[in-house]
């Protein structure tokens, strides 16, 4: 598994985590290039369909990045995202998919380093876990 490079699909909110990712770039933080970022206005706009579609069709992990609790630009989008992710993870765990491949992370616009560290850690963890079994189900 030494040459396994995990593929991460990230749904980042415009106001915090996406801007945080931008900061990581402008401040020249190093992080692995395994991540594909999808820019959304709010983590509350992440539908469980997006997450599942990514995992079934080829991603090894999904990162959902939003503003810290209390900081949502739209007041409550991140709280709603948190419930949605909790429900989705609960369903998957109950159906025997217990691997920790869906990450929810609060990263503010000023936390470029935290963004870089999160991606580094996630890639590390996914490398240890190996490829996502869900993406191999041809009959899904």
């Amino acid at each position: 598994m030494a040459d396994f490079e995990p593929r991460i699909v990230a749904f980042l909110c415009h106001w915090c985590t996406y801007t945080g990712a931008d900061l990581a770039g402008t401040t020249r933080q190093q992080y692995p290039p395994n991540i594909r970022i999808i820019h959304l206005m709010c983590s509350g706009a992440v539908d469980s369909i997006y997450v599942l579609k990514a995992l079934i069709d080829g991603a090894d992990g999904v990162l959902i990045g939003g503003c810290h609790p209390g900081d949502c630009h739209y007041q409550t989008g991140n709280y709603k995202a948190r419930r949605r992710v909790a429900i989705l993870k609960g369903i998957l765990e109950q159906m025997g998919f217990t691997e920790h491949r869906i990450w929810l992370k609060w990263i503010s616009a000023s936390e470029g380093k935290l963004f870089a560290d999160t991606v580094t850690k996630m890639v590390d963890d996914l490398k240890k876990m190996g490829p996502n079994p869900m993406k191999q189900l041809w009959n899904a």
């Binding site: 159906m95 929810l104 079994p133």
Partner: protein
């Protein structure tokens, strides 16, 4: 405070005692119409009927032992747009709980709606019941037998038949409604109980329809606990069995290999609240080239695609509010254990939010609310 009454049954005709009470609701204008199951002319099934003329209540079947549709849907159609007159609906426990959930999603309006619940021994599949009638095992004799069994909570069914799986594991045999008709613990050929909630108690007393007393059946609560305990045991056994089979997603797909993607479970589900289902929108219409790219990545893909996503997303929408009526089971042409799936997943998710669907119309469903300080799941397992 709920008001209680005991109603005497004449000549062992329990249904007539209840029909008499319902008639007086219409005649004394407590309500202007009643929605209630009626036996079809073919005698082998029941349908919900909206009755305005008190005389038409003759021949309704208050104990209809089937559930051809989830009446919460009927009640939704009836009440959601301009229901200007008071209507009472005679529903089973799971139908009431589904109606309560739909009210939270603004798809049932309770303003002019009065729910009449009736203790439920369980229901048969529609096709099973039709066969029972052909074999002479349905109709009045079955009702008599069921009512007799409900006195002690020991039901004996015609040989070769059983209740729907969802009913066998339903922990809600009694209803919380504006009017509850109580049968468990009563010698129903002599007496039944009626409980009136706050919404109607005063009016029914003033119009002299019932005389209230605190006397009830002494054994009722014991019988109910017994029935609930039996069903809970069955439920846990089914959950356990299901968990043993569905060890991972591959095992789930193996168990659900005969799913034909008909979406019947979705159509039958009273909780599926989206007015337009995402699986029937352009979101799931893709370019031909897109399918090829997916096939390219995996080497091959099942067509049509998205079977797993369909079940998972349906669950993520309805599982918090799943009241376990099991109509998905009845609707499945492949006889897949969809109800067991939704209920076993539902139990876990509902516990996560300490939410009991159908309990109280004042509560907010978990998908429509949040707490600031909860669910410490930030990049961690649940």
């Amino acid at each position: 405070m709920a008001k209680k009454a005991a109603v005497k049954v004449a000549e062992e005709k329990t249904d007539e005692a209840i029909i008499g009470f319902l008639k007086s609701l219409l005649e004394k204008e407590v309500v202007e119409a009643i929605l209630i199951p009626k036996t079809l002319p073919s005698q082998d099934g029941f349908v919900q009927t909206l009755i305005r003329d008190p005389e038409k209540l003759n021949g309704v079947c208050v104990f209809s032992p089937t559930m051809p549709v989830q009446s919460a849907r009927v009640v939704s159609n009836l009440s959601v747009k301009n229901l200007g007159k008071k209507v009472a609906a005679v529903l089973k426990a799971c139908e009431i709980r589904a109606a309560v959930e739909l009210a939270k999603f603004l798809q049932v309006k309770m303003d002019n709606l009065y729910l009449i619940g009736i203790d439920c021994p369980g229901t048969f599949e529609v096709t099973d019941y039709a066969r029972m009638v052909q074999e002479g095992k349905g109709g009045e004799s079955l009702t008599k037998e069921l009512l007799k069994g409900m006195e002690k909570g020991e039901l004996s069914l015609p040989s070769g038949y059983s209740f729907r799986t969802a009913c066998q594991m339903c922990e809600y045999p009694v209803t919380q409604a504006d009017i509850s008709i109580k049968l468990f613990g009563y010698k129903a050929d002599q007496e039944i109980g009626i409980e009136i909630g706050d919404k109607l108690g005063k009016e029914i007393e003033e119009k002299g329809i019932l005389s209230f007393s605190e006397n009830g059946s002494p054994s009722r609560s014991e019988v109910i606990s017994k029935v609930i305990a039996e069903r809970t045991k069955k439920r846990d056994a089914l959950f356990q069995e299901f968990k043993g089979i569905v060890k991972d997603l591959q095992a789930f797909l193996d168990r659900f290999s005969t799913c034909v993607r008909c979406h019947n479970c979705m159509v039958a589900c009273p909780i599926c609240y989206c007015k337009e289902c995402v699986f029937r929108t352009a979101v799931f219409e893709h370019d031909g080239d897109q399918f090829l790219r997916w096939a390219d990545r995996k080497g091959e893909i099942r067509m049509p695609t998205d079977t797993l996503i369909f079940h998972l997303i349906r669950m993520s929408h309805m599982v918090t509010s799943c009241i376990g009526c099991g109509l998905c089971d009845s609707a499945c042409p492949s006889r897949l254990p969809v109800a067991t799936l939704f209920r076993s997943v539902g139990e876990r998710i509902q516990k996560m939010f300490q939410y009991v669907p159908g309990r109280n119309v004042e509560e907010t469903p978990p998908v429509a609310s949040f707490k600031e300080d909860e669910l410490k799941i930030e990049s961690g397992a649940l």
